[in-house]
Symmetry: C2
Subunit: 181 residues, 2 copies
DNA sequence: ATACAATATATCAGTTTGATATATTTGTCA
DNA sequence: TGACAAATATATCAAACTGATATATTGTAT
């Protein structure tokens, strides 16, 4: 079997929902999947070309007017490859939180710096939670569809975690106040 | 100012706590920081050498018996560089959860696959939570120290989030049962 | 008309991972 | 005591991925 990186499956997964251009894939990653996965153009376009050479996706010219546009759709072989990966156990779940890093090393700058980072984090979380709650509400009306059920579960995950982040922010600030007494 | 990547500050941060070898740095990342940050030898050793050339850390031969050992300690210049970074706002907090990815694309394999991934995730979270609670308990006795206070806050973050992950696992399984009726 | 935002593809240097190589010391079981 | 595995320790490299940038067209608002 050919080389397979994680990116392959992200693209195959998205194309298993519907045919898309590289640009549309990027947008979907930046909206729907942003809470648990990301990718850059520098990996999207080359991987799309590689998947086509392997016969896992099919290119189709979808240019209109003068706008160049290449639509990709998944093949049966691509679907088989995706299904195989989906059945395998997860290799790695990973958090990369710069906020936690700056907090952990924060003794160099004191509790004042820590408080600032926590507050900024809190604001960001509030924003994300607002978006996620909107997603969940909108999704409510599509829950007879299987694809949307899976989507719904991931949105619920996002809501749960951001709510717990906000709780932590509150408790951490209280704890710092306690220490400052 | 010279080139600066995130890895620079991770190493400077760890060395600001105490002098260490590359191997010890890796161990600390795999234990204490594993819940929010990771790094591989392939970035640790080269970065350590680069930081030495820049005068941010100092190399010291700490070989004993026949065992080669290089201990690194942070310089004042290195501390200044670290502090500067700590004051800057966070650029990126990122979750990369393969579990969520497989769940999101799971309509290809059906709810049975989703349930399996959720269950495996649940088991892993229970394990992590156990470790984190041990950390928190042990930390309790060192909380007069500033470094440990910052450490404590990050452990609390880990506990909060893993608890919410477990709640989500439970609710997601209930939801799936509901859908299966 | 003109400028700005959005759409669209593509590439590349720099960063990081994951695997592997190499070698020594320490612990453990028989 | 000897043998074997596990832990300690440094280092390198191909492959993967990011973040930035280049290029060009279309739609929108002023």
């Amino acid at each position: 079997m050919a080389n397979t990186k994680k990116m392959d499956y992200v693209l195959l997964g998205l194309l298993s929902h519907e045919p898309m251009t590289g640009y549309e894939i990027k947008k979907r990653l930046d909206t729907t999947l942003r809470f648990f996965w990301g990718a850059s153009y520098g990996s999207i376009y080359p991987t799309l070309n590689q998947l086509e050479k392997e016969g896992k996706v099919i290119k189709e010219d979808a240019s209109s007017n003068g706008r160049e546009k290449i639509s990709y759709s998944i093949t049966e072989y691509g679907k088989d490859s995706l299904k195989e990966w989906l059945k395998k156990p997860v290799e790695k779940d990973e958090l990369r939180y710069e906020t936690l890093l700056k907090l952990f090393f924060g003794n160099e700058t004191g509790m004042e710096g820590a408080k600032e980072h926590i507050e900024r984090f809190e604001e960001k979380c509030k924003g994300e939670l607002l978006i996620l709650n909107m997603f969940a509400e909108n999704l409510g009306q599509y829950l007879q569809d299987d694809t949307h059920k899976h989507y719904y579960l991931t949105v619920k995950f996002g809501i749960k975690t951001y709510e717990s982040y906000l709780e932590w922010c509150h408790e951490a600030k209280e704890q710092i106040k306690e220490w400052e007494k």
